[in-house]
Symmetry: C2
Subunit: 351 residues, 2 copies
DNA sequence: GTGAAAGCGCTAACAA
DNA sequence: TTGTTAGCGCTTTCAC
């Protein structure tokens, strides 16, 4: 493998002209060869590749983008990178993107609309080919900037009436129903829900799906047993403490995400409550850590890989079948319960 | 705020020429204005900004890069994104970079040299202005590719004799000495070390620093009490199980990173050992999660913010003081013990 | 099949 | 101070 790029007399790195001159062809032929055009004869193609190797030539993507208009960069905007769900999602997305010859540009907004606008702007300046907006709510301000410039976007859980926008629908109810069913079978009747912030569409959907699941399981839900938290560890701990101060306490708590659930685990530990003996806890997301909490967390899995794949496919469909009127614009990602050790029968197995 | 970019008759997005024509100046003046050149009169500058706003014009960074040779993109290569340490590091790095007008390109190698080479190649193609190589070992293959092309790089814990390369030295021994001192004061004599993979420079350094700290504390170290793990949760759990099978078992275990320590917590729990009553555990890194393990983890903090700042400063020094012969090429990041609840006196407080 | 030439949108050197 | 102009390195017609 050649390492040191040959520089010419003036110390310049090799460009397409240098390759052409070494291979004794025109720069057009070099370009065609690199881009896999079928028009190039095998004889010349071989000479070109050899010259590329010899010079250790690397094409300049900026020049390429400038003339072709396509950057092969995909943007991904997430809400909050300190929730491990998002790094995991980004990693999945990157893996798929790189496999398909795309680079990714990452931004996290921390739910700040100004930051979101800046992200969108930077992505636009870099001429991203498409953007996955994985903020689960609050995305309005960014949409116009992107779609007005005809950049394909894909939103999680948010439908937009724009030909360039696709949507990923999240089916939480399957997993949440399984969770309630699981708890109900164990004998739980008093089940609380620690919700996410109501500024997030997904948090509201999750809460609604929880209520629906309780109802369809024939379980009573006390008003005080639904508490709005903020999807963080601290918020989960605080939410559970609030729950503990109640006169009638639930025997199980379902959380809007794993971070909340881990916060509950922590708060319960501080109160010397044993999980699952004294309290059952269920999370949502199934982040990698969920398997390693104490005890290992029973949770509703929302696969990052599935979500990333759906996002990438949505974008790719927009890019590659731009004209197609029967373009798939909606994608579905489902959830499923993963039973580990944080759930068991309630202390006294009577309702 | 204008949203919809005005397109011209042919539907094209506004370019620098469109701005110039609206502002009734030359494109050079537009360029100068955007780049904050002091040469532009206030009168024209005002007209230009107004035109930019009116058209909702966004400069094309690729064109900019092509002609200027500077992309304002910084690369960061990490080892393994599934260790939360790295996402946290990346976030810090990005924050600093964005603040200074840089974009970042992220790659993780999973310790695979082929992946590393591909990362370097992609970064080179994107004409990154500099690269932070945060792989903590195994970085050799990438160095030549980058430095041969005169791209400034900064390595963690790895010195290279190249004018474009800077190094961040990690001072583990301060934190590790504090840890040993802390355990020793609590009464521990039998202290084990779960090391990282020996393919990593940092893992070897940490282990050596541990040995030195033990010696300087006058503590005996049994051969079997140092086990090579792999810096993962599973590896930590497995390492501790191996330790448990020993005839003479340690009362405390120091881990090469937090993931390992959390694995130990899990394995101890499975064996019904209570931490810290039956066993003291210390991690290294202080990832965000460390505060939320059960019990909260005593650990040696290696600040991601400090490391990211050092990496950014090293790169910026290379970029902005290219000619300076007295350029700072070495940076130091230190460590410090954070005491939480995973350490206490050993079961029977006698050596 | 292959090559010549015209830009992509911008910056920077040079003129005025 | 401002404008004119020559490319940056590449893709893509359009001839041949």
């Amino acid at each position: 493998m050649p390492r040191k790029p040959n520089r010419n007399a003036t110390g310049k790195l090799p460009d397409i002209r240098a390759v052409a001159s070494v291979a004794k062809v025109s720069i057009a032929t070099v370009s065609r060869t690199m881009n896999g055009s079928p028009l190039v004869s095998e004889r010349l193609s071989k000479r070109v590749w050899q010259a590329i190797k010899q010079l250790n030539y690397l094409p300049n993507t900026h020049a390429r983008t400038l003339v072709s208009g396509r950057s092969r960069i995909l943007g991904i905007i997430v809400e909050n990178i300190s929730n491990p769900f998002f790094p995991e999602l980004i990693q999945s997305f990157e893996e798929i993107a790189v496999t398909h010859g795309y680079e990714i540009l990452v931004s996290s907004t921390n739910s700040d609309p100004a930051v979101l606008a800046a992200c969108a702007r930077r992505m636009l300046e870099r001429k991203v080919d498409g953007v996955a907006v994985m903020t689960f709510g609050e995305e309005e301000p960014v949409l116009d900037q992107l779609t007005y410039r005809d950049v394909p976007i894909v939103l999680a859980e948010f439908k937009v009436d724009d030909p360039k926008a696709s949507t990923i629908l999240l089916d939480y109810s399957t997993g949440i129903n399984q969770a309630i069913h699981h708890l109900s079978e164990l004998g739980h009747r008093a089940i609380a829900f620690l919700a996410g912030p109501h500024s997030l569409h997904s948090a509201i959907t999750r809460e609604n799906d929880f209520r629906a699941a309780m109802e369809s399981a024939g379980l009573q839900l006390q008003k005080r047993w639904v508490i709005e938290c903020d999807h963080t560890l601290k918020g989960g701990a605080a939410g559970f403490e609030q729950l503990s101060r109640l006169a009638s306490r639930p025997t199980a708590v379902v959380c809007s995400n794993d971070m909340t659930a881990i916060g509950v685990l922590r708060a319960a530990y501080m109160q010397s409550l044993r999980v699952p003996h004294d309290l059952s806890v269920i999370g949502l997301d199934d982040i990698d850590f969920a398997e390693f909490t104490l005890p290992p967390l029973t949770t509703i899995r929302l696969s990052r890989a599935d979500l990333a794949r759906a996002a990438f496919n949505a974008l790719r469909a927009q890019l590659e079948e731009a004209g197609n009127p029967r373009l798939q614009r909606e994608f579905l990602v489902s959830t499923t319960l993963v039973v580990r050790d944080s759930t068991a029968a309630p202390p006294s197995s009577a309702a």
